[in-house]
Point group: D2
Chain length 254, copies 4
């Protein structure tokens, strides 16, 4: 039986590419995303066409119980989750305080921090019983520092990072590896950045920063590092790393 | 008319002492705490006996609308809030993940991050209209890093810090000063630390770390620094500082 | 006998103003600067005219033994140094790597890190014998992060910050307080910024960012916070704080 | 012609293993270490026996010109340096301030910061002319925070980290990748840790923390991550990551 890699937030950017990367190396990938059954099917089809195995589900991460039920079902029906990838963003664009209502602030927290807490609470007792497991957490610049218009996003992602550190403190010694990936730049991801900017601006950005596909971060190459981290020997675990494009300034210079 | 200093979280530790400090220097202090009307009255009485003016209210910060209504009432009935002190803790003691339920995680967030967001959303438009104002935010070690048993607390306080940075980014240029006080040690505060440890352990800690009142942080001396920061010239604002007792190790050495 | 405040790096910006601030509150200020005996005399004259006492010396901090000899002489001839202010900058302007020669790199280190180590090595045994003392260290954005053209400066100032933390770890429990002041903006200091930019650009900056003296950081107001920190109760010491003008972006947003 | 990987600090721990890892994947490894020609020959022999190619030199990194001359010679005689690994430690054990003399402080800086600056100054113009290159820098807990007895070490390593960030800021956009590896734990390295602790204590540590080779960090597994980072696509470069054993507390919890 193949080990299972469950991806929560499997769009066409980092999530889908990480699922594919693990599937190409012997994992069964379970892809979850909120909407777009056709897109989901297409990604599964791609993985299968390339010789891997995958399955998928629509999942609303802010709805009560959906994350927990999915984890339970995957464990019961597919197999033990060896790697859980938490790849839900909480970006709502830059908004001044007056335009950030309570609902937006809470929603960011539900996606940014609480959803990870729920997923961890559901999967970690199972991993602990098995003595191993990996949680890979996609994170963002806003986890490192607040900024103009980032009230809701930064509060959520700052919480995400601190939660990852707390999870490592308890579960590292139990043989479970949590890694916080600081994705400190724009990803070439039509589902998220593309939708936020609109097709014209997104294309403009790709061209302006492109330099032969190097300006926007290539999600299939991000996936290589996710896979590497999941394979690290347990005496050499990385718990935090940053990634950005060569031409980009890091968060502390921007 | 005196300028107003509103303290949300005015127990017998930092909050009450900060209220008193501002009242001694010409502010009218408004003290809010969740419970204990007698304790509240006693603190107001102390301030008045020392020649200051103060008023107080019980306030449940996690209840819908209570923070907002209090800010509105103070502005309408007492005067413009020049300084808002957000002094609500979100500590629930060290708890392993399995003992941290969703309710506890959410409650920490409501006190740690959302409550500050609500207070800021209510008071900042008023401060912006006046072109000045100060928000002093008490924070904790857990805002800097997660740790064993700190899942809920660190996620909440990490969010608090990032929110302070975001608020500064938008409101600093508008002449409003937000400062994040990292209280990186145990405070001599019978209402919180005392209650968490119980009277025997609290007394034991006071004696063990006492060295003539120097081991636990003295809240009346913390209040001096809150007051100093609120008086800084706007060309020299401090947005983050740490405080701990001379014998204590900082968060990055602990 | 007055307590002594020794300022190493007492130009017309932060150093001179800190000296004056302490002298106005009962300290004897000893001002040291590398050049400009006339400027030094003028600052001493100002302090004396305002009712304080001060003395001064030219001091080349990178020359062997000069810092140590000055500390020894002050202790022998003036009195115990209660507060030492290390206010030497190591800024050499932005320089690409190719324009940063070994000599510049080493000089930055001598001013940025080694000079503080020498001063600390000379004064701390004396403070330790007395069971009290304070070292106030002016630092810069480059202590928090490297940046383009900051090779020599950031390497030096990053070392300065780590050294402050190490000094606190050893000497805090002995009752000696070290504080690292992150001056995260441009100071209205004709001797340093003024000389680096030249008179025209400096005046232009003052006007552009002025807004009634609020854009550039006012050194006499920075001095207020230095003085406050030196008076903190030892149960509530600040070891790191940042300061910047209200309109400025912090290092992590710039 | 094979690409060249030059390792400065190629002992039996991280350095030698990184050299071997690159040699196993098609690089010619050039190993430099200060002493022990026999140990050097043995490592080269191991690489060659495993089918790789390597050469080696004794090199005193604190001696004037030796780093620069070695880089020049390698470029002239072996080939373009594609990857430079700067793996010199600056640890001198915990020493109180009184036991840290100027010579020790300076020596730490020469190894910790200045040596990297010299190596970067020598190799980066060549890499820039070629439009590509990688510098992998081994770093230590002390780069993140000072601590008791770490005066010299932390000042040096804090400088090292800030220098890496400055180098990235200038050379990243030119296609050159610098990565700072925070080795936040004890490495199973007989040449350094073993020598510092002595054979008995080292063996005791291996056994106590061993858990089948998992307590001390395995340098051959650290090398896997060095190699991975050097292969990252330039749109997804990691500039900072941490590594520690699963059972170890990170620097911010210790």
């Amino acid at each position: 039986m193949k080990p299972v890699c469950l991806v929560i937030g499997a769009g066409a950017g980092i999530g889908g590419n990480v699922a594919k990367r693990f599937a190409m190396d012997g994992y069964h990938a379970v892809l979850c995303r909120r909407t777009n059954q056709d897109g989901l099917n297409a990604m599964i089809g791609q993985i299968e066409a390339a010789g891997g195995t995958a399955s998928g589900h629509l999942l609303n991460a802010v709805a009560d119980g959906e994350i927990e039920e999915r984890i339970e079902a995957v464990e019961a029906e597919v197999g033990p989750i060896e790697v859980l990838v938490y790849n839900l963003g909480a970006q709502i664009g830059n908004r001044p305080l007056a335009a950030t209502d309570y609902k937006a602030f809470e929603r960011c927290w539900r996606l940014g921090a609480f959803g990870l807490f729920r997923a961890a609470s559901a999967v970690l007792p199972r991993m602990e019983a098995r003595g191993s497991g990996t949680i890979l957490v996609t994170s963002a610049t806003a986890a490192m520092r607040g900024n103009d218009g980032q009230h809701a996003h930064a509060a959520a992602m700052g919480g995400r990072r601190m939660l990852c550190q707390s999870l490592n403190a308890e579960y590292g010694p139990k043989g479970i590896h949590i890694c916080h990936f600081l994705i400190d730049g724009a990803v070439d991801a039509p589902d998220t950045l593309g939708r936020m900017l609109g097709p014209d601006k997104f294309q403009e950005l790709r061209e302006k920063r492109g330099m032969e596909h190097d300006g926007l971060m290539l999600p299939e190459r991000i996936a290589d590092t996710y896979f590497h981290v999941a394979q690290q020997h347990r005496s050499t675990w990385t718990q935090e790393l940053d990634m950005r494009s060569f031409g980009d300034s890091p968060w502390y210079n921007n």
